[in-house]
């Protein structure tokens, strides 16, 4: 039988302990048997190894081999400066590794925050003596002494209780104190047993004694810790994309490198020349600047999101947000204001009073159809009874107390009522089991008792009611039925209904019914639009709340949230995982009366259906679900530190609308990455084509490898980052979630990048190179130029051909679908800065001796630069035309 079901003697026998506690020798042996009372910490990340690991991916290995080949070439032919190339390639590898490491690794502090909930010292009874020991030395069978305010270090069964109340919120999210007794439990699970205490919870009031039944990982809290620590997210869409992109580029680079190495050998160019060719093609095909650009772009996006109240903790999450297909959101505080408001009062005489003004500090009016002087008095009596039975206070700066009580205090303030100064002598506190609370006051010889509570619990304790005449009358069946019917009407409209009564004894019986108050946490005004925006964006929103189904459904209707069915916590418990997956595949559910740990099941089921899940949470017990979800979103205002540490994003204003704004930004990042991948691809073509032409035709080498690197790691980076900061396109939230059956590096990107824009750029580069040579007396067939300056000038022209096209490519790429003119010239200041820097760089390539030496460039007379002019314009207009054609085709396809 379970330990919590056993009577004390049997329990002690089963655990081989006694009320005097374990003996020292028993403790020593149990410590060996069960181990110390500690939670398994996450294995510490070896950051050095993780960083070094960045040097072993496909990209890195390829470039490392290229660098090695450069150093070998330099060893055999030191005159060509291949060592500079080797260092440059190694520099590219280091930059890539550092940026990727920076993006992927961050300290996971959720476990550290969880461990703070476990005390370091505990009071125990051992060898019949009370002692204080380190919590880690506590063993099953120990007698734990529980006092008000103490944290509990292990799960245990209560054997003595004196008004013992615990805060179990770390396990079940319920902040109301839970009473504990010594009665053997009849529940099926320890968490439901009222004679159990748990590690990680605190004693709110009273005292008691408990026998430790489980320690360390075997505790219920150990479960949460284990779930928080061991949850491993699936790869984010961006991580998948990067792996995909790396694989594709590496494949192409290796293929072309091998083909040209073989061709070089067979055509008799010698192993050295063939190797250099292979090396050049590998370097040209690998977009060295891509990973740093992605990291910088994500970082900038996260800064923009922080300004809009969404604090991003994990950079990859930025893009994952754009892929979100389901948002599972809490109700209280996220969809609603978390400010309870009294909207209606019902007086026992039969009048219904409505109250205007929402929230705790907004003024309001009371209105009633059949209002008279008696109503006014009875309303004042009801509100006074409510005020005298509240601990909550509202002053200019602070709100203190329970939200429901704050609503009653706010209603009293609206009416201008203050509680009279009376001496409080006793309080019957509210618990989730009692569902009512009372305060007892003494005024001379007179005792006043004021009660509020759930109608079904408090009404049976009423014997009289305050009638229309302002006098007390015996409670008739008709009045009882009227009160119940009114409560039902209010509850059907999602109000929380409290019955207010008063008495003259120190017992909660024989009370006088004063009336009902209908309280609601109203939805935030901006949420309706945000939910509608999710609908058009193809994102399902699901509410997960601990509240009752009726309230949840009513709030969902008020904010326009669609749902096919309501699933309650107990119903979810009965569903098999496969059944849940099936339901969630075809229906949108609203989850009510949920326990925190059930969120994890919902997140897992949705992910198993291929959904990208964003999940909100604030409690300690939400931490596993926040970690499991693709995007864990913690509440910045009301969230616990554990939840914030477990989450990927923290909402600084707890507002659902901020999630939708963040999703818009996430989608924007996805498209911006797509834009700059296309932009980067376009510059690959003018890097590859010169080598192919040099190989097959009798022309001098048009571009050196170091010049290729100057494009990839120099001129492409800033415009790339600027494209990453581009504002969202106007259709961003009217299209389905990104990434679902869609990749960043898809055929469209290849087509536009390589085969359309790339070909124009390659043509520009080669026309510039060949025209310049022809204008300066070169004849076809001369491969080795006698004048090295002429060769360097011609190579500079090739480089400028590619760079000038990239300048306007960046501008036209600012919109993926719409005209570049529609996005505004000054709307992306970073792009203007990037252009400025590019032009300075071009000037440097032409005029600064050091730059010329490193990049093998030379001054080109201004009279020759006209050759470059037509191509950037041609590229710009061609791409604008391409987009226009796509728009026309799409508008024709859309009915």
């Amino acid at each position: 039988m379970q330990l919590f079901r056993l009577e004390k003697p049997m329990l002690l026998r089963q655990l081989k302990t006694s009320e005097d506690g374990l003996t020292s020798s028993q403790v020593a042996r149990r410590l060996r048997e069960f181990g110390p009372n500690v939670l398994e910490k996450a294995a510490k990340k070896n950051y050095l190894l993780a960083y070094l690991g960045q040097y072993s991916n496909f990209f890195a290995i390829l470039l490392e081999v290229a660098a090695l080949l450069s150093f070998i070439a330099d060893h055999y032919d030191p005159e060509k400066g291949s060592d500079i190339l080797g260092y440059a390639i190694l520099g590219a590898v280091i930059i890539n590794a550092t940026f990727t490491f920076w993006q992927e690794y961050r300290a996971d502090k959720a476990m550290e925050e969880l461990l703070k909930l476990i005390p370091t010292m505990v009071s125990l009874k051992r060898d019949n003596q009370v002692i204080q020991i380190k919590a880690e030395n506590l063993v099953p069978g120990d007698i734990m002494l529980l006092e008000e305010g103490s944290k509990i270090a292990a799960d245990g069964v209560v054997i003595e209780a004196n008004s013992l109340y615990l805060n179990l919120s770390s396990l079940n999210g319920e902040s109301a104190p839970a009473s504990r007794s010594t009665e053997p439990g009849t529940a099926n699970r320890p968490l439901e047993a009222r004679n159990m205490v748990f590690a990680g919870t605190t004693v709110v009031s009273g005292s008691g004694v408990a026998v430790a039944s489980a320690t360390g990982n075997a505790t219920e809290f150990g479960n949460i810790a284990s779930l928080t620590k061991n949850v491993r997210k699936t790869l984010t869409p961006m991580q998948r994309e990067i792996i995909h992109i790396t694989r594709v580029f590496t494949g192409i680079a290796l293929f072309m490198g091998c083909v040209f190495f073989a061709l070089g050998l067979f055509s008799g160019k010698g192993i050295m020349l063939a190797s250099i060719f292979a090396l050049a093609l590998i370097v040209a095909n690998v977009p060295e600047g891509l990973l740093p650009t992605i990291s910088l772009s994500l970082s900038l996006a996260s800064q923009r999101m922080a300004k809009r109240n969404a604090l991003i903790k994990n950079l990859d999450s930025v893009e994952t947000l754009g892929s979100a297909t389901v948002i599972c959101t809490d109700k209280t505080g996220t969809l609603t204001k978390n400010e309870m408001t009294v909207k209606f009062l019902w007086l026992a005489g039969g009048e219904e009073v409505s109250v205007s003004g929402e929230g705790y500090r907004t003024p309001g009016e009371f209105s009633c159809d059949h209002y008279n002087e008696s109503s006014e008095h009875r309303l004042a009596d009801l509100l006074t009874a409510g005020l005298l039975n509240c601990r909550a206070t509202i002053d200019e700066e602070n709100l203190r107390g329970d939200p429901t009580e704050l609503a009653i205090v706010a209603a009293g303030r609206k009416k201008g009522i203050t509680a009279p100064e009376l001496k409080k002598v006793r309080e019957f506190i509210f618990t989730s089991e009692r569902k009512m609370m009372s305060s007892v006051y003494q005024e001379g010889e007179t005792t006043h008792l004021f009660t509020k509570g759930a109608v079904e619990v408090t009404l049976p304790k009423c014997a009289t009611f305050l009638g229309k005449d302002g006098k007390e009358h015996p409670l008739t069946e008709a009045t009882r039925q009227a009160a119940l019917a009114k409560a039902d009407v209010f509850e059907n409209q999602a109000f929380r209904v409290l019955l207010i009564a008063r008495g003259t004894k120190e017992k909660e019986e024989g009370l006088t019914l004063l009336g009902l108050v209908a309280i609601m946490d109203l939805p935030r005004s901006e949420v309706h639009a945000a939910v509608a925006s999710c609908k058009t964006a193809g994102i399902r929103t699901m509410m997960i709340t601990g509240d009752n189904p009726r309230t949840a459904a009513a709030i969902a209707r008020m904010i326009g949230m669609d749902f096919d069915r309501v699933i309650t916590g107990p119903e979810l418990e009965k569903l098999q995982d496969e059944e849940l997956e099936q339901i969630l595949a075809s229906e949108t559910a609203l989850f009510a009366r949920m326990a925190g740990n059930q969120k994890l099941r919902i997140a897992t089921a949705l992910q198993n259906n291929g959904e990208i899940v964003a999940m909100t949470g604030d409690g300690v017990n939400d931490a596993p679900a926040l970690k499991k979800a693709d995007i864990g979103i913690a509440m910045g205002l009301s969230g616990t530190e554990v939840a914030k540490e477990a989450a990927d994003m923290v909402l600084l204003d707890d507002n659902f609308s901020s999630i939708v704004i963040a999703i818009e930004e996430g989608r924007n990042v996805y498209f911006n990455v797509k834009k700059f991948v296309t932009y980067v691809l376009a510059s690959n073509a003018p890097e590859i084509v010169p080598y192919i032409l040099h190989f097959f035709l009798k022309i001098p080498l048009p571009l050196s490898v170091i010049q290729i690197l100057s494009i990839d790691l120099g001129t492409d980076i800033l415009p790339g980052v600027a494209l990453g900061s581009e504002r969202p396109e106007k259709n961003i939230m009217t299209r389905p979630p990104v990434g679902k059956g869609e990749k960043i590096l898809d055929w469209e990107v290849f087509k536009r990048g390589y085969f359309f824009l790339g070909i124009i750029e390659a043509t520009a580069a080669m026309v510039a190179f060949l025209s310049f040579l022809l204008l300066h007396g070169w004849q076809y067939g001369t491969v080795d130029l006698a004048d090295p300056l002429l060769h360097r000038q011609a190579m500079t022209m090739t480089l400028l051909g590619a760079v000038s096209c990239q300048l306007l490519n960046a501008w036209t790429m600012r919109s993926w679908e719409f005209s570049a003119f529609s996005v505004g010239f000054f709307s992306n200041r970073m792009m203007l800065v990037a252009m400025g820097v590019e032009l300075v760089w071009v000037w440097g390539l032409l005029n600064v001796a050091v730059v010329q030496k490193v990049f093998n460039t030379a001054h080109v007379p201004i009279g020759d630069l006209w050759i470059l002019l037509p191509f950037p314009v041609l590229l710009f207009l061609s791409h604008e035309g391409y987009k226009w054609l796509r728009r026309s085709r799409n508008s024709l396809a859309t009915p």
Binding site: M1, Q2, L3, Q14, L15, K16, R29, R30, R32, E33, F34, G35, E40, P140, G141, R189, S213, A214, N217, A218, T219, G222, N223, I224, S226, L227, N230, V231, R232, T234, L235, Q239, R240, I243, H244, Q576, D577, L600, R601, T604, N608, N609, G610, P624
Partner: protein
Amino acid sequence: MKVIAAVNGLVTSDIAAFYALRYAAFLDYTLCLLHVENPADSKEEVESSMSAIEETAEQYQVRTERVFLKGEPAPAIQAHLQEIRADILFCSTRMRKRFFEDSLSEKLTRLRLPADLAIVRVAHMDAVFITENILLPIREDRLSVKKFIFVSAMAKALGASTEIYSVSPAGNRRLARLDIGNAREIFQKINNRLSHYTKGFKLMAVPLRIKHSLVENEVDQIMHHLAHQKFQLMIIGGRRLSVFSQLFTEDPITRIFRYTPVNTIAFYARDAE
């Protein structure tokens, strides 16, 4: 045929003996309570434990006998097992802090025994009385007939349902390649390969579920699954590692035993004759 339970008077050995008792009750075997006398154990506690187990055995109508041996525990047990017809030996183990502690259970795992060996790590003292769900983690479809027989017998003996949790190791790159359709295909293949065991469980009327996971770290995933679901017992397959090999690799069982949140039995099938 006998089921042997090594008893030393400690709570954990009592619980291991209760598992042995339920197993013996299901197979109608004799439960042999065995103790190797040594100065570390209190004879009084050992006898008190044996009495409590015998008392419970009566309720299950299981025949019991007591055996007291002398000498070095592991060889003494090995010698005793060679003399009798024993099906399995249940022995509790303590929380292992280090990778090598040279406990009795560790020594037994390295010996060639003529009986199966079940090493029991106790996390919850009451779990043996309320075992509703047993978890059987396996790598992909690797489930031996012997382990299947042991697990199904334990499930039947404890009246529990069983979940086979098939864990397929996969690195980041493989995970990046797989979509849900691919993963489901892999899982279906594993299900097909396990179908004869599924039939076996069905024949024995043991409720069975099969679940799958593609993960980087098997032990972490199993721990996560344990915390997520409601299991009272986990049965894992043990491997006999030499002292030498333990110097270089941490046996996953050691890590599982160190941090398991539920009672766990590592099953070592007897050496082939």
